[in-house]
Symmetry: C2
Subunit: 199 residues, 2 copies
């Protein structure tokens, strides 16, 4: 029998749609929302509704935005000659914290035969080429992840950008900062040796 009311079961079901959230966690969230202040819990629902309804992609770079151009593309103090190409909008945050002051371009995915992404039309690639036409951009940094799909996408981009008069670079690879040798895997160590720096 249903020991809980239908709206509670529906809330639990809806919460299991969040990534990595199973029934137990969803139940925990649901009971928390019921126990807490009604105002806070309704605030959460309202915040989700408002964000989902308002937010779209920046027409130029693909970042999340409430306006046609995102806050970064609208910022005239940024270096318009460098574009950092990332997989998803969420990847922009760590770059911005690192002090990078150029522009971004969100691909919205990677070439991935396993996920059925094999065609440039499935990614925001035409939009990237459009941004290179006026000759302002001097460098494109492939900042895709160092996974097989990420590497393949970077290589594809390097080849496709050859006709354009831009420098194509890739993120440096090697030891992470603060990394102890004991915990570094052998692939990273191999890259760190290949890319060793003179001092």
């Amino acid at each position: 029998m249903d020991i809980f009311p239908p709206s509670l079961e529906q809330m639990i079901d809806a919460l299991t749609r969040l990534p990595g959230v199973g029934r137990k966690t969803a139940q925990r969230y649901a009971f928390h929302l019921l126990r807490g202040s009604h105002e806070d819990s309704l605030g959460l629902a309202e915040a989700v509704r408002e964000a989902v309804e308002r937010i779209r992609r920046c027409e130029r770079c693909g970042n999340y935005s409430e306006t046609a151009l995102c806050a970064i593309c609208r910022d005239t103090r940024r270096d318009e000659t460098v574009i950092c190409v990332v997989e998803e909008a969420v990847d922009i945050a760590p770059f911005d914290r690192s002090g990078f002051n150029g522009l971004y371009h969100v691909l919205g995915g990677l070439f991935s035969p396993l996920q059925g992404i094999v065609d440039a039309e499935q990614l925001r690639i035409r939009e990237l080429f459009d941004r290179l036409r006026d000759g302002v951009v001097r460098e494109v940094i492939a900042a895709t992840p160092t996974t097989p799909d990420g590497e393949a996408t970077a290589l594809w981009l390097a080849r496709a950008l050859r006709p354009y008069d831009v420098k194509m670079t890739r993120l440096g690879m090697g030891m992470p900062m603060g990394g102890s040798l004991e915990y570094v895997d052998e692939n990273t160590l191999q890259k760190a040796l290949e890319c060793r720096l003179s001092m």
Copy 2:
């Protein structure tokens, strides 16, 4: 600078209010909600709003309900002579799965000096006594957790219920089913020895 639009930041803030959810996880949830189908994401917001607005406590037992009495209290096929006293409504689910067919009473907490719960008025205890007045209930099972607060609350209840003509019992303690001796802590083993059964 804010690289994401304000409604996205607000959604992330709201999601960090969920238990055990830090900023990173909230961000992951938020990006998932934006990437997924708008319909599903708005559905989640709507399910939370509806549940929070509709659900209240059952007037008798304190379980969550959309009506004055919850589904369990309205079910006439249940054994009205036994009440299982639990800390929170969420604890009802495992008992019901175990096949228990009596009624429940949700205390809404435990006596806990550390959390400032020291007075019977802070728990749903008067409501429990009210249910014992008509003499229908023959047994009250203290099903509070086997933690110091849970044990203290069970002892307090046993003493407070002495004037009433009801049997007071406590959940059996010992080895969990399927438990291997290797992983059982010594307190549990001690209880299992104390409560050993003749065969």
